[in-house]
Symmetry: C2
Subunit: 222 residues, 2 copies
Amino acid sequence: MLSVQPHALRRLDGSATILRCNRDQEIPYRPETAGHWCYLIAGAVRRSTIRPDGRRQILELMLPCDFFFVSDDQGGETVEAIVGPTVLASYPAERVDLLADRDRELARELRAIMSQSLRRTRDQLMVLGGVTAVEKVGWFLLTLEKRASDQKGQVELPITRYDIAEYLSVSVETVCRAITDLQQRGIIALVGTRKVKIMDRAALEERGGTKPQGGKLGLIAA
Amino acid sequence: MLSVQPHALRRLDGSATILRCNRDQEIPYRPETAGHWCYLIAGAVRRSTIRPDGRRQILELMLPCDFFFVSDDQGGETVEAIVGPTVLASYPAERVDLLADRDRELARELRAIMSQSLRRTRDQLMVLGGVTAVEKVGWFLLTLEKRASDQKGQVELPITRYDIAEYLSVSVETVCRAITDLQQRGIIALVGTRKVKIMDRAALEERGGTKPQGGKLGLIAA
DNA sequence: CGGCTGGTTGACGAATCTCAATTTCGGTGG
DNA sequence: CCACCGAAATTGAGATTCGTCAACCAGCCG
């Protein structure tokens, strides 16, 4: 995942296939490939897995301009579109590998992409780890604002409460209660059910604690 | 992190520096570098971060034969030895990058390493996510057995209960209680406090649910 | 209008955290 | 070799948070 399109990756454009997906539809792939890299153009995508107890855990959330890899054998993971029309560009892994073999810049950017994906996963891990439900939701809102700020201080929620719950590993009800709580304390304000205004960022960061470090793109910043 | 030393990485040996660390000592680095890759020879290493509430979260646990990256600017993360004498080989990032530019096989192996690190982090994330404390500990024991099996069905715990607690995001007391519980049900047996025999693997996997997928090394298995 | 999905709120119980006390283990010095 | 010390490990009791179950509201679409 990467929010800034690195320029070396542009050289892949020639081998791109445009995919359009509906809601809850798995990202398609051609069985003859070893997987493919995707660049998300519009919509939202989740990488998720099912727990033995039947609940779903969202492992990664992709938003427009993110770059990510989809293996054909996800080993229990599924990658699917979450919202209405989701559009993405797909690049066969073989071709990417071949290009990277000859293009050192591309190779480094691929490492940078994975590095950032790793960083985000670690951030998510830290949040799941311990903080309270309100803090989890607060962190989620801040993260989302950094990644997909509608306007400064305003976030359009691209996903349902259920998805948020599965992303943060809490029950839907708890997500609702947390949002309500933040609202009543004047830290956020809801516009409809899918748009959030951040009224008191400091409080949100303090409670959420974990200032999500959106992350510059270090060259191999693990 | 990688438990199998890929052979292309051997070509780095020329530029290796051997580091020896004591317990709780941060992995040293030279300020003039952009970071370094490390190959853990003996001991154990943790990558951790401090939560706003003061608690520490272990984000990654490195065991002998693991390969991992240490950035000089960890952005709040620290990487340090956990046990007595920890020995590792260090390779400056610049040199690795330069070599990877010319060595496609090395470049691919680097991607594979990061890919596995990502997979493990996702596994950990999933465990933190929802399961009960007993299941967390069970999963941890199984994972550890796969990565560092003393003998089959026997695990030497390289780290303290406190570290386990910080890795699994539960309190130390809860870790103890979980271990006691597993013992009383005959699923595991303790030999001293730092060695565990797995008596009933099936039960452990079932309860722990999440069968930790130690992970073969797919070439770019994201 | 009726059904359905998504969202919200309340009450209750279970699991975990916190605080506190106690025991075990390892090493260190006499 | 033994006594002693501190860190690690364990156990208990009470407080708190969160999940579950259940009811209810609000758009949306046929």
